[in-house]
Amino acid sequence: MTSAIEMVDVLDEPRAIEGRSPFSLALRRLRKDKVAMISLAVIVLIVLMAILAPVFAAVTGHPPNEQYRDLGLTPDGLPRGPNGTFWLGTDDLGRDVLVRIAYGARISLLVGVIATAITVVIGVVLGLAAGFLGGITDTILARLIDVVLSVPFLLVAIALVSVTGPSLTVTVLVIGCFSWASVARIVRGQVLSLREREFVEAARSLGAGDRRIMFVDVLPNVIAPVIVYTTLLIPVVIVTQATLSFLGLGLPPPTPDWGGMISESQNYYTTAWWFILFPGLALLVTTLAFNLFGDGVRDAFDPRADRT
């Protein structure tokens, strides 16, 4: 080009940051957050425990569902406390608590991740559609969201599972089918305000269609709060699954699962404290770690000087 266009002069010099996306900035902040990093380490440990559950079984020599009626129970038929053979004691059927906790981690994490993933995908897509397309789509979806959010979750979940029978798939589906509504509501709100922004108008002036604008222009602006919400959603899902399990609607026995173990321990809490304590601790630590990490993620994306 041989036109006489002035080159950018010194006053116009861009700041010397090279291609720093909001995500890499947030990631940097997260890495400096000690509490969040420790929680992440704990989460990794729990994941490892879940993956290596068969190792636990191999090392102790006790498969998770094996009932040791002689070795594991007292002559009165009560569980034995932590000892050399059963490091965390046994449960009411003489099974190794430690090994069952390790296997139980699988269920909690699996449901936590899968149900959350389903929830977020459905919620984001529907929230985008409702907020952006407006009109009848929005009216129907907004009403649907209202209905789902007004229904008493636990009651209906109990009812549903009692009809279909407990299973992993049902648990995941039930949780997913209710949780998407809160995600969708948040996304919809964000999209409604983003829709009026000038860069959306600019995209239209270029000839972009609805779908392209939704996914290429609007979605990246919505992703940040979605990520924060997702990390905070996982512990909620884990607790929900444990609660359903506790009420007898989790996986069919004898599959080891933290909520189920705590439920089984109810009758023995006077005699076998380890039976309730260790699964309870596992659940608590997992939830705590995810919550702390989620807080860290939230602060990394939206740092405010006053918040600790």
Partner: protein, 319 residues
């Protein structure tokens, strides 16, 4: 304003109607052997058919639904399958228990949460703040059933063993039998329920207060020489409490259906437990009645919260 109210109520009714359709549809997909159970082991096919007819189960689904809807609008939610007790009566019996539980816990968690939140916000990054934040985070992560069980273990079992048997193992003592026993039986459930929610409210209040205290008008108030406590309570709290009150309304509404776990752990025959029993027995009218009632509670709570918003912020009314 009237238009706004009418629209919101209309919206609420629509939501409730949709829920009734969904719940009804759901249960009719499920195979039901209520008639079988009622007839007993000796039940002949004729008896079963008779029972089915008596309960109206042999009519097509949509007819049963319309029948139900017609009655519901008149205030009659049907009769339970097993003892022919009016569902409204069943709800009426279970409701005071759930309400006692919910309201008592609500007072506790609101007071605790707001108080802690304010302390945290007015002394940011201090030892108290960090301690309370940690406390809040800890209980926020605590599954409610676990907390209930642990409370039972430590405050009922251990305490009773040591001779101080003040807390009962569970069950409910109606108010009519005296405040003492009523209180005694509800204290542990209240604490179990409240600690968890107090944690949420501590975080919420803290965040909201921090935002408000950073505003210019607070600085103006301070520079006018007003006492700090007055600044915080009168000027700061008033605006900071708005999101808290909103959340409170929503939570209270959802609580009616959400206390299932606590009622189960502490053997309180409230709405939650009644519903679970009904579900196990496939007692459809009771299930639908309670689910609708709980949903109505949520819808009403949401409407009240929206009204509150409209009162506080006139711009909402124009929408």
């Amino acid at each position: 304003m009237a238009m706004f109210l009418i629209r919101r109520i209309g919206h609420g009714i629509l939501v409730l109607w949709l829920i009734s359709v969904a719940v009804f549809a759901l249960f009719f997909v499920a195979p039901s052997n209520v008639a079988q159970t009622l007839a007993g082991r000796q039940g002949t096919p004729e008896t079963i058919a008779l029972i089915k007819h008596r309960l109206g189960l042999d009519l097509p689904v949509w007819q049963q639904y319309l029948h139900f809807l017609g009655n519901a609008v008149k205030g009659n939610l049907g009769y339970d399958y097993y003892h022919q007790v009016p569902v409204t009566h069943i709800i009426g019996q279970a409701l005071p228990i759930t309400v006692s539980l919910a309201l008592g816990a609500a007072v506790l968690w609101l007071a605790l949460g707001v108080f802690n939140g304010v302390i945290s916000a007015t002394h940011p990054r201090s030892l108290a703040d960090r301690g309370l934040t940690l406390f809040a985070l800890f209980f926020y992560s605590f599954p409610s059933f676990l907390l209930g069980l642990l409370l039972l273990y430590f405050l009922y079992f251990r305490l009773t063993l040591s001779g101080f048997g003040w807390f009962p193992a569970g069950g409910y003592a109606p108010l009519a039998g005296g405040i003492g026993p009523w209180f005694q039986h509800l204290l542990l459930p209240w604490v179990a329920l409240a600690l968890l929610l107090a944690a949420t409210y501590t975080r919420l209040t803290r965040g909201s207060m921090l935002d408000v205290l950073g505003e210019d008008y607070i600085r103006t108030a301070r520079s006018k020489g007003i006492r700090e406590s007055r600044v915080v309570v009168v000027h700061g709290l008033r605006s900071a409490l708005t999101p808290v009150v909103t959340q409170f309304g929503i939570d209270l509404g959802q609580l009616i259906g959400g206390v299932v776990v606590t009622e189960t752990v502490f053997s309180l025959p409230g709405l939650g437990q009644t519903a679970v029993t009904a579900i196990n027995q496939q007692d459809l009218p009771v299930i639908i009645g309670i689910v609708l009632f709980a949903s109505a509670a949520v819808v009403v709570a949401n409407i009240l919260v929206d009204i509150g918003y409209a009162v506080l912020d006139p711009r909402v009314r124009l929408h």
